[in-house]
Symmetry: D2
């Protein structure tokens, strides 16, 4: 089985079409993928100086681009995540002085003094994450997902720290084993990038950092010819989902719900204004992150309320 990584080249800090593919896969092929953690595996102690180890813009290294054979602009890639393993026995979280949801940042600029940096090391044991050996807090289930997954825009090269219509750094816990992420193809081969494994994460990823881990994943990518997407979709057993990434956060929510409603109209025959009214009764929402250059919101429609076709 093919094992994809960027060990023989540079890791990718943008998602775009200006770099040679590191691997080529066939639709339907099962393959392995190795990813570094968001800090390039460089933070290994609670005494690490994260303000030195992180040098913008070289944060959140991604594996890729992966060329998918036959993919052309106007198609979509359906990425089935079969499994994600932690490639290390601990995760890392941190407070980064001008990054996060409850502090001044380069976008929400203020004159207040920045927060102090801090690193925490979280052991991963028995399918659990230990937040702190000192604090008497119950173990957190190991529920891994990819914080970052995306395909190349047509002409832009987007920071691996940013989400967008192309996917990217959405920090959506729905990008997890068992689910399928459907991404637009804008250039030949689609050019898939993946990284930013999380062993655990709360909704909103409020301090800006989850339990960051390197991973070994198993994936299968299907090619959907002629499915034009404006934004990423996700499918699980329970939900069909769409992800909007924008600022302010209401615009992210508007995008996600607009796409969900158009999907209900296009594929399930529910006229869009009825779908709008129905979503108002049964939809679920995940606030994926409130910390990145754009915020990401997942709008979720429970499959049990899809019209029963005869």
């Amino acid at each position: 089985m093919q094992i994809v990584n960027n060990k023989d080249t540079d890791w990718s800090y943008v998602i775009g079409s200006y770099k040679q593919p590191v691997a080529s896969i066939k639709p339907g092929e099962v393959f392995k993928i190795e990813t570094l953690d968001a800090f390039g595996n460089k933070v290994d102690s609670s005494t690490s100086d994260i303000t030195k180890l992180i040098q913008m813009p070289y944060v959140n290294p991604l594996t890729g681009p992966i060329y998918v054979e036959g993919a052309k602009k106007g198609d979509a890639l359906a990425v089935k995540i079969i499994s994600i393993e932690a490639a290390r026995d601990y995760g890392v979280s941190a407070i980064i002085p001008e990054f996060g949801g409850l502090c001044a940042t380069p976008l929400t600029r203020t004159l207040n003094d920045p927060l102090p940096p801090r690193v925490m090391i979280h052991p991963i044991e028995n399918d659990s994450v230990i937040f702190s050996k000192d604090l008497n807090i119950a173990p957190i289930p190991f529920e891994p997902f990819y914080g970052t997954i995306g395909t190349s825009p047509e002409i832009e090269a987007v920071s691996s720290l940013s989400p967008g219509n192309h996917g990217g750094n959405m920090d959506a816990a729905d990008v997890c084993p068992g689910n399928t992420i459907i991404l637009p193809v804008n250039v030949d081969g689609g050019l898939l990038y993946i990284g930013d494994g999380h062993a655990a994460q709360g909704d909103a990823e409020v301090c800006g950092v989850a339990t960051e881990i390197p991973t070994l994943g198993t994936l299968r990518v299907e090619l959907i010819k002629g499915l034009y997407l404006r934004n990423p979709r996700v499918e699980s057993n329970e939900f069909i989902m769409t992800i909007g990434s924008a600022r302010p956060m209401e615009d992210a929510a508007r995008i996600a719900f607009y796409e969900l409603i158009m999907w209900l109209q296009d594929d399930y025959g529910i006229e869009k204004l009825i779908a709008y009214q129905l979503c108002s009764q049964v939809a679920r929402v995940r606030l994926a992150n409130m910390v990145d250059t754009l915020y990401s919101v997942v709008a979720k429609f429970p499959k049990k309320y899809l019209p029963k076709l005869n």
Copy 2:
């Protein structure tokens, strides 16, 4: 048992201290409360002309104010919701032309033509809401809650359509039977207002209207002396929760998480920056509404991760 309603006076369209209480209750007293639906029970058919039946600002009539004996500025009210029954065998939802999450509104003004109005009547049968007899969609569980609950600000009188630090029209499904809502007291007696019953509602209440019902509820209000709150809190068996209401939506999320973190520090001894980092791993978020004059976000901390005290 006392039954509180506004039948002998006007229903309340603002939350404030300028109206005589309709009832007085003692802390710990169990009482009943009757509420109209958000349209004043005036919409009863899918052919109702909602643009005529709704005359701003006389929308979302509330029951109250209720005077709580002994409540003084600086205290808090803990409102335990024991039960909520539908006082009618159907709910109403609607599309209102310049109201909702995916349309131009008086706040997000555009030159596009408005959406067409529409009313749907949703039968309530066997603890389920029937979205439509025509569409083949599974019944939605009857999960009632109050869209609006709040206490009087000190000097302002706030539209019953608006949420805020005082609670109000938050549309948070966590304001449901079994849970306790904790609200600030800013004036003598607290002056509690309740209304806007929902038989079902999706996260975000995206079209602006849930399955609206009149209700008969059973409540008990406890007085917490000397608990100063900036914003509403909710407690369930599973979560401690805080609610922020603001625009843009990220400010609502910031308020909710700030209050959750300060609560974790003040009552559970987790230093605030550690609480921040912990929430980033385990918190949950409900987007309560993306449609009102302010948006409401619920930040939720799972009680299972509270420090175990010895």
Copy 3:
């Protein structure tokens, strides 16, 4: 000539209809009005402890309500500002720890430490404001205006710190001598409130405080029967203007431009989409404040580009 003030009653900290008028005026009558500064004239030294002198919500005392004879819901008031004098030989500005455009606030909540408080006293001499006797900075022209002017909403009572559709704390330097402010009437008598005199202010009022002064003003109020307004308008010799107050700031700008365009269509016969395209070539914008509970944006159309009628 009538001199209006609140010396025989309380100053007003909300704009609403729940307080008895302090004066009644006839349309066309010229009258004087006295206002306190935003701090109730209580800050008189650079060593004043502003965090003690300001006790929320009792900030920004207003003069009023003033009852305008004959005003009914659906009319408008045209308030001509004839003159504004400083009623003191100095102005006050300040940094207030959790208030302002470049710091964490109760709405944009963060965990950063607050800014330190500071008061500056600015002498007013020879029609100039002296920012600092120590710093070698050129005198600032004395260009007084009212930071706050508004009429009562129909049922709400709005904090004097907040702007809105009713006017209020807009901090728009266009509310100055020579100009006419046109406000909606929502209740009998209109109920006009005025205060928050500024001797000088930059666009955006970025630290949240201008050069605050008590004032003696001379006004004339005309009644415009049957002019329904959703938002305040201003007229000067050079511009017709509309003011939008909302968050996020783009919504304030949307409201202001929408109203400007509808005004161009309704009164000047420029079809709204042409007016939209024309504004894109010639409009001017003032960012009035980026610090209040809502932000205020003034959209300005130069009268020289109004269609010349024959």
Copy 4:
């Protein structure tokens, strides 16, 4: 004198470092530059179908990149605009269905029907722009500027439609003859891009389109070694200015004011909190655009209030 254009290669639709320079200039060298209009000079009639002529993402073609000899990461480029001539005797404006400040867009998504497209041709005669030969509207002064000017980010390639820390599509009328635009250098040679000439534009560019023209400009670029900038600056005879680009709009204003205040502290010795308080009395603001993927706000400090150095 060197004449720079992209006639022998493709025009640039992203600002980045992945394309070969089209010219190399020496610091201090005066050169000419030719730019196409934002529609690639393809719209020449009021009956042009703009929805067909514009094919995303190939909009707003830029001239460049221009390599500046000696420029290294951490330096800055000071671009003096000596003159801008219209290279055509008319400008073009348009309504583009899902683009603009007062309509639903791909970011502020709604279910409302889109606005209809429309093109207007504006003759340029005698240093004036004629908005319409039919409407009796006074001529608009020809006041040309570049809507787009920027330098390459370090690793990203940003759409020519987007502004940002690198400059880009800011639509700031201060980027005009007589003024100097100072931009960060992130890569060798800086890699300057220019385009999007406007013959006239209102603040906010509210419909999303100014009076678009191809241009012939004359420029001189100076290299400022060791001046690290986070965001663009502009200098005129009257003002020092900083530009912030972000969403929501208040974040753009925060960035602009933060940078202005730090500039006042770093270069003029005004301690930052005093500069904050001073800006609150004397600053001016231009809302440059409220229509692009990010909004741009210009914070302006009048030079007459700079401390007089002895």
